[in-house]
């Protein structure tokens, strides 16, 4: 075996009830290497990392570390082996000082008391080594996220970590802070410490990493040195689509026939760090897709348009008129509807009935003097249960007892009964079965025929190609390209996602 190999995870499998999360995955990390772990959501990255760090126990497979087989059944065991993790949500104590955080749980003692001077000096030394100058006696919570992350890394180094796992460390950092982090990573490399680096930002991967492992649906679909792979190859492997299978719908619009009426327009809209000046417009009766990798800023853009978050700058026009959307209710009044990405967290009211969930947004229209008209309410609910084929024993069933697909239909019904002009759908088919998926895609098609515009965010290229008249590609918070119906092809989209071409 190669002496330079630090970590070798062999044939790791892990099942959760109903899901095969990992199907015999291999991962090899060399000493002093920055190794990227890539894959779409649900590809198994997190599960693999959690197996390595002892959060989950693998069902089968072996882990070798520095040539010896190790068993990481608890996080403590993993730490003792020399594996440290920097989580997305930092596991530090915000109200303690920096040096206390670095040595938390391993306080330097002298005569049964904490030796503060040694603690401070050592913490300072470690941080200086990383190129960070900071008052180690200061309270952690007053530092920027970047510094907090550095403290987390300092803590890892002080435990003599040989391998540091960084799960999306850059997601909450700005450009300057990312540079600082990369400098630290380079210093770690120089000390022969390895890093597993998870990020959705392609540019970063190509800037800092030496090798890459790509996961898809719980399997390793690619393994390469970074210099032997192109961005396009990487994106194709992550998304892994077979272009020949896709049947695209009859497109009603093309570049020449496109309506000139804009339902909604954004002009240079900004909300740092995810949305950095985007112009898009959705035309009447058009299905506009937003493509891009996870974290590119698509969801954030959708939320800005719906008034769920406030933009820092930039303008929104609805039907040509400049509007200020402070709250979702303003957007709803203007004729917008929004099906959020995470149905359970932001969509359904779990313990309320199907009936109440469907009519929640339109209650003001069903209400006279504050009293809900039950008769009208039930009429509408019946209409939409039938129209969308919502499978529920009765309309008074609590919505949490429905399947994912039917919950999504309930939320669609919630907006359709408002007769919206524009429906924003964020990952409308995520986590729902194939049958319901087709029904929802068919529904989107029908909406466009009824002259309702749709703005659709999806990570599934296939789905976008099927449904959209036009696709805007978002990359790193900016619009990277735009494709019209006749140009929409997998190659073109991937090119745009990877390079920002066009």
């Amino acid at each position: 075996m190669d002496e330079r190999i630090l970590l070798h995870m062999k044939n790791i499998s892990k099942n959760f009830p109903g899901v095969k999360a990992l199907k015999g995955v291999d991962l090899e990390v060399k000493k002093g290497e920055v190794h990227a772990l890539m894959g779409e959501n649900g590809a198994g990255k997190s599960t693999l990392i959690k197996v390595l760090t002892g959060v989950h126990v693998e069902d089968s497979g072996e882990i070798y570390f520095e040539g010896k087989q190790i068993f990481t059944n608890t996080t403590l065991q993993a730490q003792k082996c020399g594996i440290s993790t920097i989580y997305q949500e930092l596991d530090l104590i915000p109200e303690l000082s920096i040096c206390e955080n670095v040595f938390l749980g391993r306080e330097i003692m002298k005569n049964g008391m904490i030796d503060w001077r040694a603690t401070e000096e050592k913490a300072k030394a470690i941080l200086l080594d990383m190129g960070i100058k900071v008052d180690v006696k200061g309270v952690l919570s007053q530092q920027s996220t970047a510094i907090q992350q550095m403290v987390s890394i300092a803590r890892a180094i002080s435990i003599n970590a040989r391998l540091v796992v960084m799960d999306e460390p850059t997601s909450s950092l700005d450009e300057k802070e990312v540079k600082v982090l990369f400098n630290v990573i380079k210093k770690l490399k120089a000390q022969d410490i390895s890093v597993i680096f998870i990020s959705h930002r392609l540019d970063e991967i190509f800037e800092i990493c030496d090798a890459i492992t790509i996961l898809k649906d719980g399997e390793r679909v690619g393994y390469s040195a970074i210099k032997d792979i192109t961005k396009l190859q990487l994106v194709s492997m992550m998304i892994g689509r077979d272009a020949s299978k896709i049947v695209s719908r009859k497109k009603s619009y093309s570049k020449d026939k496109m309506s000139n009426e804009n339902i909604i327009e954004t002009r240079n809209i900004v909300r740092e760090p995810k949305v950095r000046g985007i112009d898009i417009e959705v035309k009447k009766g058009e299905v506009l897709g937003l493509a891009g990798l996870l974290g590119a800023g698509r969801t954030e853009l959708a939320r800005l348009i719906f008034g769920a978050d406030a933009p820092q700058s930039g303008d929104i026009y609805i039907n040509g008129k400049k509007v200020k959307l402070n709250l979702p209710k303003d957007a709803i009044k203007a004729g917008l509807g929004f099906c959020p990405e995470d149905r359970k967290v932001e969509g359904i009211i779990p313990h309320m009935s199907v009936k109440e969930n469907i009519t929640l947004a339109m209650l003001p229209r069903l209400t006279k003097m504050g009293v809900v008209s039950k008769k009208e309410q039930e009429k509408i609910v019946n209409k939409y249960i039938e129209a969308l084929k919502i499978k529920t024993p009765h309309m008074n069933q609590a919505v949490r007892n429905l399947s994912g697909g039917n919950q999504q239909k309930v939320i669609l019904a919630r907006w359709l009964c408002m007769n919206p002009e524009l429906l924003i759908l964020d990952e409308p088919t995520r986590g729902i079965d194939v049958g319901a998926k087709t029904e929802i895609l068919d529904l989107i098609e029908k909406l466009a025929e009824d002259n309702i515009s749709v703005l659709m965010v999806s990570s599934e290229i296939e789905e976008l190609m099927h449904a959209c008249d036009r696709i805007a590609v978002i990359r790193d918070g900016k619009k990277a390209g735009e494709l019209y119906a006749e140009e929409i092809g997998e190659e073109a989209i991937m090119n745009s996602i990877a390079e920002g071409g066009k």
Partner: protein, 321 residues
Amino acid sequence: MKTITKKSSVNVNQDRDWKLLLNKYATPILLVLLIAVNAIFTPNFANVNTMWNILIQMTTILLTALGMTLVIASGGIDISVGSVMAISSIVTAKSLGFGVVPAVILGLLISAVCGVFIGFIIARFKIQPIIVTLPMMIGIRGIAQVINDSQLLNFNEPAFSFLGTYKFGGSVPIQVFIMIIVSASVYFIANKMSFGRYVQAMGDNYKASRLTGINTFMVTISIYMISATLAGFAGIIETARLSAADANAIGKLMELDAIAAVAVGGTPMNGGRPNVIGTIFGVLIIQIITVAVNMNNIPYTYSLVLKAIVIILALWARRDK
């Protein structure tokens, strides 16, 4: 082998049905048990006068608990209600000179203002309700005490005392009618009006409620306003009944009884469907314990322990899963 497994699975189902039933009807069952036990063992319990007494005494808890039901259903909590009772009591008593009606309106108004203020802070700054209402609990009572220099304020105003002492047909206390009207109103708000749907939706899933266009800001303010106004009304009735206002004593620990009643009544403590009927049962349970303990000459301190046990029992019976 096969038959055995089948049999056991049936048993499991029956077991579950039984538990489900207990879960759903725990509060009324407990209430009936409590009444039955007391009717047998407590002398003079099964007596019309005792009944009127229980009803008169439970009025204050019921009014505050009804408001608390909406607050808790929305995912919040309001521990300042006892102090709001005190301030409305002393303000009303102090301003009786302007006439009974203006005094009562003033008392209700000051309570409503307290509620609006609390709701505003919670909705605007997104601070946890318990953190907001804790200083309010302390501060509002402080103001109430300052108003009359912490002194008991006696008054002789028959037209006002009528609110707490009048008996229809010589026996049915006015409180019974007040309770019926307020309970019916809150039930109506919670179950028939869109406002009630918003309260429940916000308690069940705040983020989704906001994205559905619910005006969470105004709804939050309204909830705390209703709660405080009802608490203030309770304070006024109690003041009328006693013909005296004592800002040091009135409504003390009322918030705990109200919260306990709501919890026992089955409104989910982390927000969800407001169970108004359940709250009424919950208040009855808590009040009957208090009265029964008195009638049996059990020392007050023991009554607290007993109350705690019954509350835990009720919560245990209707716990999740």
